[in-house]
Symmetry: none
Subunit: 414 residues, 2 copies
């Protein structure tokens, strides 16, 4: 089934608000297994909105219109549906009564304009909206479906999940549920991951495998279709076990896990404490770690030694290390060992480098991460493209991942 999303509102065209509704609906449609080829934004203009709905009905099986069903003269979606379908407007005495009852319950007098919300295109079903006064609409017209739901995100989402998607699933004869689980990997290339999973990728259709690359991570999505969620999960479980066996420690988490949460949980389990010594990231690693509630169970502190003399004085980095240059693996290791000692922690993450831009510095984007654990100390040099913010953000993420690998004893060369 092909579904088109239409968002109505001049404020969207003017960029006063961002069209998050289209993304929310698009995601829900994709998760349900429906296709979507176009999303359109149109202003509060009857003729143009009717034209957009008419075109959407020609190229899709269903149209979801969001916005334009409020009580004001600007709200033209009901009229636009009448114009697009050639249907007359009707008035629901029942819903008008319901509106009066609601306003009375709030102790307010209902503005007469609210009665517009009791209007509906002939043949449309009114969809109850417990979160607002504008009911949604569902209309089957010449074998196609038109839905109108509010533009306010919370009301839109309620009606989407409680009224629109169930009707679309039924219309499409979808009785099965789709369940996904995402395995998140870091530090290996997409081709490394793909090579190891190639036969699984080809052989399995239910569950199916997909790769997603974003933010330096490769994600493996395992999606199963079954009569209910429990059965779908039991199809996913053996495939997950197999994928984990093949990818080993590259898999750091699932679904919404973040590396900072994963690292803190790992260290808490081991009974290890954590600290950082930072130069080029300027406290960014510590800030990311302490963004997690309860970080204080593991994280003790950080020494941000931006100036070279503070690297000596507060971290005990010596001339032997500094002789290799401030941006060097020797300095990153010395910073990590110094922080482990001075902060009295079990694991210390250190970062030195040059995030750029600086015309005097010949190596912009060179960042070095060091990690000291009770088992030893290691360092890795990263050469990163992009601007200062991107280099720093990526380095913070990389430092947390390298700390996980060091703490699990699976640090690898790649």
């Amino acid at each position: 089934m092909i579904v088109e999303v239409v968002a109505v509102g001049t404020e969207l065209l003017l960029g006063q608000i961002v069209n998050t509704n289209a993304a929310t609906i698009g995601r829900a449609l994709a998760e349900t297994g429906f296709d979507s080829h176009y999303q359109v934004v149109v202003g509060d203009n009857l003729e143009r909105e009717a034209g957009v709905i008419r075109q959407a009905m020609q190229r899709a099986d269903a149209v979801i219109v969001t916005g334009g069903i409020g009580p004001t003269q600007d709200d033209l979606t009901r009229e636009a549906i009448c114009a697009a379908t050639g249907r007359p407007m009707r008035f629901s005495d029942t819903y008008a009564e319901e509106l009066r009852r609601r306003f009375a319950a709030w102790g307010r007098k209902m503005p007469e304009s609210n009665l517009r919300q009791a209007e509906y295109p002939d043949g449309a079903e009114m969809l109850p909206n417990p979160k607002g006064t504008a009911p949604g609409l569902a209309l089957e017209h010449e074998g196609r479906w038109i839905f109108a739901i509010p533009g306010v995100p919370a009301e839109m989402e309620y009606l989407l999940h409680h009224e629109v998607l169930p009707r679309l699933r039924q219309a499409a004869g979808v009785s099965e549920v789709l369940v996904s689980r995402i395995l998140r990997t870091w530090g290996r290339s997409e081709s490394w991951v793909a090579d190891r999973l190639d036969d699984l990728f080809r052989a399995t259709t239910n569950p199916s495998l997909a790769f997603l690359a974003s933010g330096g991570e490769i994600k493996i999505r395992i999606t199963a279709k079954a009569g209910d969620e429990e059965r779908a999960r039991s199809l996913i479980a053996p495939v997950e076990t197999e994928v984990r066996a093949r990818l080993g420690s590259a898999v750091f988490g699932v679904d919404d896990d973040t590396i900072e949460r994963v690292l803190l949980a790992l260290l808490e389990e081991k009974g290890w404490t954590l600290g950082t010594a930072e130069s080029a990231t300027g406290g960014g690693v510590a800030a990311r770690i302490t963004s997690v509630p309860g970080a204080s169970k593991v994280f003790r502190g950080s020494i941000v030694a931006y100036a070279t003399d503070l690297k000596r004085r507060l971290l005990g980095v010596g001339d032997d290390a500094l002789g290799a240059g401030v941006v060097s693996e020797a300095v990153a290791e010395a910073m990590a060992v110094g922080a482990r000692d001075r902060l009295t922690v079990d694991v210390a993450i250190a970062v030195t480098g040059s995030a750029g831009p600086d015309p005097l510095e010949r190596r912009p984007g060179t960042m070095v991460v060091g990690v000291a654990t009770p088992d030893g100390v290691k360092a890795r040099t990263l050469r990163l493209p992009g601007d200062r913010e991107r280099v720093r953000t990526y380095t913070v993420t990389a430092a947390l991942h390298l700390a996980r690998l060091a703490a699990t004893g699976t640090w690898w060369q790649s």
Copy 2:
């Protein structure tokens, strides 16, 4: 002039990313005085993208296509413009050479697929993109304009403002320019600001005044219309002087100034160095400061003492201060003084507090900022609503502002 915005990418239809580009472009068009009737999203599909561009050219004077100009097989905007206009594809040897040169400068081998970015529809001008490898395109076809710019927001914005809008203004014969200047204030309420500017707000039409509240700041936008930019600026200047005289030190910057840049510039001018001592913000103040290129001229380092024993050991916070509680003005002041001493800096910013959520902590959202300067030490307690992330972000901003007030000797009570 009517301009239609087309965003290309299956990831938009799937809701994996939100179409912020359409909002950014819509806002820029509205500010320039252009109309926009439709925004369309289409996936990475040649036929559908060409159809969308063709339709946009029928109902608008100009079309801005964002996305689909990268190097991969999925990037079909160049082909779609050819299909929509019936023009053949050309290849720019000059740009191919430029691409090879750029990759060589990065010390990387250019993938052959990148040569796709040297292709352009016959007659199109290639628009230089210093922020990425994909050039934009500008094509005049049968009296209409088609622009193709990247989907990556930073690259899109650069090309929009430097290449697309100037050409559209010229094509539309827009002769008057609108120039705005924003004065940014912090620490005073909207009503405090409005009271002081009320008569100016009523009396002035060119330039006009507007208030904008966001992120804890009150901004005053002064907008003038004139035949050229210089004349517009000369209309703004006396109004700016008057507004500054009335608001005093509440004005911390203009336009895109950030408090971290303003603070660093102020301290550099005074010849003062800066450091931080952080608990609840976990390095966030230092990270924000070091996000500014060249911060090392002023910023020396930070001690993040998340654990209480590190506040004693690394910052010298004593029992007398800790007796008032870890989240207290006494501790914030002791941390600031300790950091000023141990980091050998002139100005030290300290933060202690509880960002929540923590069922054992009875005062979530209580944050205390201390600032030590060569002139003394002060502290301020902030009680902040919102979740952990919001409380921490707001506290970092407030700490930087309080440091500015302390360094300029205009710390106020409010």
